[in-house]
Symmetry: C2
Subunit: 393 residues, 2 copies
């Protein structure tokens, strides 16, 4: 057969992806999936939307739409983002097939083989997959409880790089949120640097306590020392199956991303865009988000109490104020893959730390998601994971 | 700002895309859009599907699905394709975000800059866009009323190429269908060649007369001298806004495309996949297709009669037996862009021939789509186009 392209030849089927497939087996308690529990989706609200949808909008939903997105949804999103203080002037917005695609389009539009990309450590697995498909050189800078470590980022910025990719709010997988101070230091550091900042913010709305809302202020609202490409998603506030996200970025960048999207999938589903627009337009979101926040706060609380009850003292973990995830770290002699195999045998799964290491190395850590498992199974599952860790300590 | 990638720097915003935006202006008779008229969508059937959809399936639709596609839809598609004689053994199927994405994934997985790709002339604009985003060398081989010209293809195959991209059934934009004899000659010619054939078949179901169904036999069912990647779409048989297509190809190729799709958009909309699966499973499609075929046959007939009535004798056109399109050719001294500008001023649009020329040169031709405009506007629109052509003859 004719050979695959060079970038394809360097792709490897990931053992992690294989393990993740276990995440949805009904007989296993899954802390693996970065997704809402099926029972948390707004099905009644969806029925309400569909039952009042005029035939004209259904027809529009069945048709091709503009590559940049269904215009009324773009308007709704702009209105929503402007309430968060996000700058619309000199920027443009496109709707993407999940925020995953927004990251992919940026990668496609900017990365040549060998280009440097700076990420956090740990880092969202989807972003590293999108970047890696264009053969860049990835370098990751560690985060602590307050965000990326500024002194280390400073060193990484000595050499030219195309992107700095960050998830400042309710980090996936680390579960932390950047402090306001750290956000300011970061923007200060970026003054006069030649780089693009991708601010990935899919968990923005998922704070547990109202008082923490102010922590979620996007970097892009705090001044833009370098161009900031801001990505968001309906996956965590409506449903991932809609496959809708967005990218707010300087006009010149959006123009190229739109052109790239024409070649990638022409447009995102108009049908789900029409539904998502009604969801926003009818003001269903605020009430639904309240319900979601309370449920995730509760699940997180159960998880944190279970961790405290069962984990041996050598294990450390983060204490999320929102989002989906808790990040566990244990002594280096313990390998998360061993822990996972043992855990699976006993009925619980999670994602091993290595998956979130752009260099695929560090594995004395793992990600626990509290968003997906049934609340009454969390305690049982954490005990299984704790027992597995103890075996290898 | 940091520079765009090399492939982005070579992208140009297409004047053709700009002109296409006119296609949906309500005051213009549009022969431009390769899409069904909004009134032809199965809205009643969709309501029927939604109203009987159990909450459990709605929840699945709101959730992430496997990258390869929603498993019940994959099963329905396999069943459907096997009734057409398509080989499932040693092959695999993935659901894609439109068949556009299937072509894009193949391009991503195989094309390195400078690789040769052979297409037909004229050729589907979306395919050339997908290929071009990976900087290949495109070479197009002309088609006649029976398909690609074998002697010219033979010459093109002297030099190595990665893909041969063909749309044998109800060609976009040419509106022809390959004769059975030509299909056989083509497969004969490909014996012992080292190339991959992409068989793009989105219009397969849209024959006007039952007796022509046999002409639509896919190449992939007639023996596979080289690996054949078969792409199809829900866009023409359900609705483009669903953004669903599929790729049936040898397992090794599907494996890489699935891996690439993980980085592109993770999965296609589960929600529209659930709807599309019900559409297939409930056997709504056969009856709906009958209605569609009758409507398109009728529209095509009106268009052909109008062409005969208004076009000057120097203009030639194809006589479709299915699909969406009529392809017009006129003397070389007439430029389709001039004709288009004049036509737009008088209230009718189409796509200029150059858009379908991978080398963006030949422009004494244009594509008329009879699928989108209101039937009672076709005659009026054709008169406008004919008058515009006459001005430049």
């Amino acid at each position: 057969m004719v050979p695959f392209s060079k970038s394809t030849q360097s792709m490897r089927s990931s053992e992690i992806r294989e393990l993740l497939k276990l995440a949805v087996r009904p007989d296993v308690i899954s802390f693996a999936g970065g997704m809402p529990n099926n029972d948390l989706f707004p099905i009644e609200e969806l029925d309400e939307i569909y039952s009042h949808l005029p035939a004209k909008l259904k027809k529009i939903g069945m048709q091709y739409g503009p590559t940049a997105g269904y215009p009324p949804l773009i308007e709704s999103l702009k209105k929503y983002l402007s309430t968060k203080g996000l700058p619309l002037e000199n920027n443009d917005l496109i709707v993407t097939t999940g925020s995953m695609q927004a990251i992919y389009l940026l990668a496609k539009v900017f990365i040549d083989p060998g280009d440097r990309i700076i990420t956090e450590y740990p880092c969202f697995i989807g972003a590293t997959a999108a970047f890696n498909s264009f053969q860049p050189e990835l370098e990751s800078v560690p985060i602590d409880d307050d965000g990326i470590i500024i002194s280390q980022l400073e060193k990484a910025l000595f050499r030219p790089a195309k992107f700095l990719y960050l998830t400042p709010n309710f980090h996936n997988p680390a579960g932390i949120i950047y402090s306001t101070e750290r956000k300011k230091q970061l923007l200060q550091l970026l003054q006069n640097k030649k780089i693009i900042l991708i601010e990935d913010d899919p968990y923005n709305e998922l704070y547990f306590e109202k008082e923490d809302e102010k922590l979620t202020t996007p970097l892009k609202t705090m001044g833009e020392p370098v161009p900031i490409c801001y990505t968001g998603s309906f996956s965590k506030i409506f449903g991932p199956g809609m496959r809708l996200g967005w990218l707010l970025a300087p006009k010149k960048i959006i123009e190229k991303c739109e052109l790239a999207k024409q070649a990638v999938d022409a447009c995102s589903s108009t049908f789900t865009q029409v539904l998502a627009n009604e969801f926003m337009r009818k003001d269903i979101m605020p009430k639904y988000l309240q319900k979601l926040r309370a449920s995730y706060a509760q699940r997180c609380d159960v998880m944190l109490r279970s961790l405290k009850e069962y984990m041996p003292s050598e294990v450390k973990w983060t204490h999320p104020r929102g989002g989906f995830y808790v990040w566990l770290t244990f002594p280096e002699r313990v390998d998360a893959t061993d822990v996972l195999k043992e855990s699976i045998d006993n009925g619980a799964v999670f994602v091993i730390g290595k998956a979130f290491d752009p260099e695929s190395r560090r594995n004395n850590c793992l990600r626990l998601s509290f968003s997906y498992p049934a609340e009454d199974k969390i305690q049982e599952g954490i005990k299984i994971v704790a027992d597995a860790i103890k075996l290898f300590l």
